[in-house]
Amino acid sequence: MSTQVLRAPPDPYHLGHHPAAPGAPPQATGHGAGGPAPKRIVVGYGFWIFLLSDVIIFASFFAAYSVLFKRTAGGPTAQQLFDLHNTAIQTAFLLTSTFTCGLASIAVGQRSQKWTQIALLCTGLLGAGFLALEVREFAGFVARGAGPSRSAFLSSFFTLVGCHGAHVTAGMLWLGTMMAQFYAKGFRTDIRHRFLCFTLFWHALDIIWVAIFSLVYLVGSLPPEFLP
């Protein structure tokens, strides 16, 4: 840290964003040392971090579910309750909706209002189908006396899967708002940034569903002697 060096940067205050000479490449280095990142990166990364925190909420519910899995208080067990056909259809709906969401992000990249709205509508319909099946499943359980207040196992099941469903519901509200915003205001930069966050959210919900259908429904339906 010598005090002899007299800094006389060749590019004062432009710092690589505009090249020192015409045609020369920008001089900024990566990893944030080139100055504040562009808004798109900032917004996307911020939402990524938020998703991380959301995943940890799910992890807490997963931990509670794992601990309380066997505490059925003499009531129905997972094996007795779960209908894997229903789960399979729900998985198909949600996975396909993730795919259509990806197509929607391509459409936004192409600035096509028509395909954006179509892809988002498909995503929404598939999401609605997923939710309808889930509500039907929950209502069925409650009607059979296997509601969340029956046992600790059922409380943790309803909370974990219900939390995912609540996130999907919030996502649907967001989806509707995005469709309205694209329609009303076109492909403005901030709306596209918001949509980037929405796609992150929607894909993350499917990732969590992968964990749920595998570890809650499929593992739960295994005969007890196969469980650790």
């Binding site: 944030g32 080139g34 562009p38 939402f47 990524w48 992150l200 593992v219 295994l222 196969f226």
Partner: protein, 143 residues
């Protein structure tokens, strides 16, 4: 496409920011990236995810895999499918532009593992060390 100027410095397209980084979820901005390749990426991811899903449902229904190993097998398949989602739908790669995103993901995975497996470990031991409850008290505890 015109972007309004934001914040502190003149806005520039992230794609021309050499050595910069990418927001998570955004595809790499390479000029030659055709529409076909983009859609193809999503279709590949979709197909692989379908395969893994079918595999999960299938192994849990048959005895192709040794019974007590099924839970672990399902976990492995689930993790694989999560990886497919991350790579094909969320465009998480190991380029240097993506380092921050991968670090955040790794941190998250670490914390999730600590919470889930830590809780299971701790609570299993706690439950094992609980005093056995006599039958009449056990019956009293039903609602």
């Amino acid at each position: 496409m015109s972007d309004e100027s934001h914040g502190t410095l003149p806005e520039y397209d992230a794609g021309s920011y050499v050595g910069g980084d990418r927001p998570p979820g955004a595809a790499p901005d390479v000029e030659e990236h055709s529409l076909r390749r983009e859609v193809g990426g999503y279709i590949t991811g979709f197909a692989l995810a379908i395969l893994l899903t079918i595999a999960s449902f299938w192994v849990s229904g048959t005895n192709f895999i040794y019974g007590p190993a099924l839970a672990v097998a399902l976990l492995v398949l689930a993790v694989a499918q999560m990886g497919i989602h991350l790579v094909f739908f969320l465009h998480i790669t190991t380029d240097p532009d993506n380092t921050n995103n991968v670090m955040a993901l790794a941190f998250g995975v670490l914390i999730v593992c600590l919470i889930v497996f830590g809780s299971i470990w701790v609570m299993t031991h706690m439950n094992q060390n609980m005093m056995p409850i006599p039958m009449d008290k056990l019956l009293q505890m039903q609602p």
